[in-house]
Amino acid sequence: MLSAALLALLAGCNGGRQHAADQVIVTGSTTVQPIAEVSKEGFEKAHPGIHVLVSGVGSSAGIENVIAGTSDIGTSSRDLKGDEAKHGLVDTPIAYDAIAVIVNPSNPVNGLTKEQVKAIFQGRITNWKEVGGPDMEIGVVNRDEASGTREAFSKIVLDKERFDPTAVILPGTGQVRSVVAQAPSAIGYISLGFVTPEVKALAIDGVAPSEEAVVSGAYPISRVLHFFTKGEPTGLVKEFVAYVLSPDVQDRVVREAGFIPVTARGDGL
């Protein structure tokens, strides 16, 4: 802990990329966290004496860190926005992430259109009977604005329009999932990788969320996970990025984390 903090401090003082030659600092999206964590273990095992420091601080903070030079790699579950694009960051896509719209397994509704999902999250549809379900008030569970998942959901499903301001807001994927698992009337959204049998993922526009559907582009609510580096990755950072893109990580780690390998497409993007 202490040594990690010291190393990070050291990295900060050196203005970033010229810091100690035996470490790689990876910060950013909590969605990318499982991939980064397991990759770290494999990479450190293959390169004794090398340390990879991973911390999940959110996409925005990760991008901020890599721009400031306090991280080598900023992981993100969203594209660069606004001023972030002006700092010469290089984007390496590392996986696909689809967002599943989840309901309680007791809910008879199995699918919605993207328009219906949008209307529900904007508070224009408020009862399950309006979308073919029982006469039950819809309990909308939204994420906080710091969430990369919300950012993606807002962009893809709501076209950046306003969420219903009276909806419940919860600060984590785990909380959203456990509430939806408990409450028969609830609807929420989480990364497909975190869907468990205690919740039901809805088909959107008739397409059930599956790997094939995400890779083929048929499933409408999906996004790309990124590694951002300041300039083309070099040295150890380059090796780490290459390791994450290797079949070892892509076919094993990425899949086990519930994401879809970027190599699944065949063209390596």
Binding site: P165, T166, V168, S178, Q182, A183, S185
Partner: protein
């Protein structure tokens, strides 16, 4: 120092040896330093929060900040009125539920419980204070919330769930201080009451509670401070929708939970506005402490 030397300079008898003097002085300064650190901490935090939050009054405007009905940072609306109302609703409801509970527990511990029961109940009450608030939050989210949802409909996020959780959380604060207040009522007053033929209930209701009144009000105000400042547990059960109170089962947000929800991504005016919220919280706490101090002074004067 030999006895001969001591008699030679009698005045030095009153003085301590040099090493003792140094030790004493060092200790005095050490404690002074401790006290200074505590004060410096408060002052520095206040200055920092004030420095970061002050611009909100010019950038957003006092009226639009304090009186605005919409908290929509991404749209540039920074009205804290719904949050202020939310904090008040949550705090007052928690007090209404928690204060009688805590005062009842304190009366039981101080006046009724046999020593063996007391030696079991008192640590249990004190233990409540040691439970981390995130644990209260999880308990509220997974156990209380579904029960509330059955009663109010909806998902069970909102003031009622927050009241129930906070009511438990403020019990140790209010109960401990109320017990102290009851304990400081002179034994003679109790004896006089019983000697007049009063029952236990009459003694508690007509004699002890009025005698300890100011101390109990102190306790309730400090419990209020605890409730209004509580963040994590409230954040997990209140729903965090920055809108006006619409019912005990509908999501609202509070000053503290909004700061935590927004801080990770806030920048610019938004961040300044969050420090503005912190200033408001600071002023509320200061007001409560001032109230307690004024009451204590009143208590001492009337004694």
């Amino acid at each position: 120092m030999t006895p001969a030397e001591e008699t030679a300079t009698p005045r030095e008898l009153k003085l301590m040896s040099r090493s003792t003097y140094v030790k004493e002085a060092a200790l005095k300064n050490l404690f002074l330093l401790c006290a200074t650190m505590a004060v410096a901490g408060v002052v520095l935090i206040f200055l920092f929060v004030g420095w970061r939050g002050w611009p909100v009054f010019s950038e957003v405007g006092l009226a639009r900040f304090l009186g605005g009905a919409e908290w929509l940072p991404t749209a540039g609306a920074f009205g804290i009125l719904p949050l202020l109302v939310g904090s008040l609703v949550v705090t007052l409801g928690a007090l209404a539920l928690g204060a009688p509970l805590a005062i009842g527990a304190a009366v039981f511990l101080s006046e009724i419980a046999p020593p063996r029961v007391r030696s079991f109940v008192r640590p249990a009450v004190e233990l409540l204070a040691g439970v981390p608030s995130v644990v209260y939050g999880f308990f509220g989210l997974l156990v209380i919330r579904p029960l509330v949802a059955d009663v109010t409909g909806g998902l069970g996020f909102g003031p009622l769930t927050a009241w129930l959780i906070l009511a438990i959380m403020i019990v140790p604060t209010i109960a401990t201080l109320t017990e102290d207040a009851l304990g400081s009522v002179p034994e003679g007053i109790r004896e006089a009451s019983y000697a007049m033929g009063a029952t236990t209930w009459q003694t508690i209701w007509r004699v002890l509670l009025p005698a300890a009144k100011i101390g109990i009000i102190d306790a309730v105000i400090l419990g209020m401070g605890r409730a209004i400042g509580e963040t994590m547990a409230v954040l997990m059960v209140v729903g965090n929708a920055p809108v006006f109170f619409r019912g005990i089962g509908k999501p609202i947000s509070t000053l503290t939970s909004q700061i935590v929800m927004d801080m990770p991504y806030a920048s610019g005016v938004h961040r300044t506005a969050l420090f503005g919220l912190a200033i408001i919280l600071f002023l509320i706490s200061m007001g409560l402490v001032a109230l307690v101090r004024a009451l204590s002074r009143f208590r001492e004067e009337t004694r």
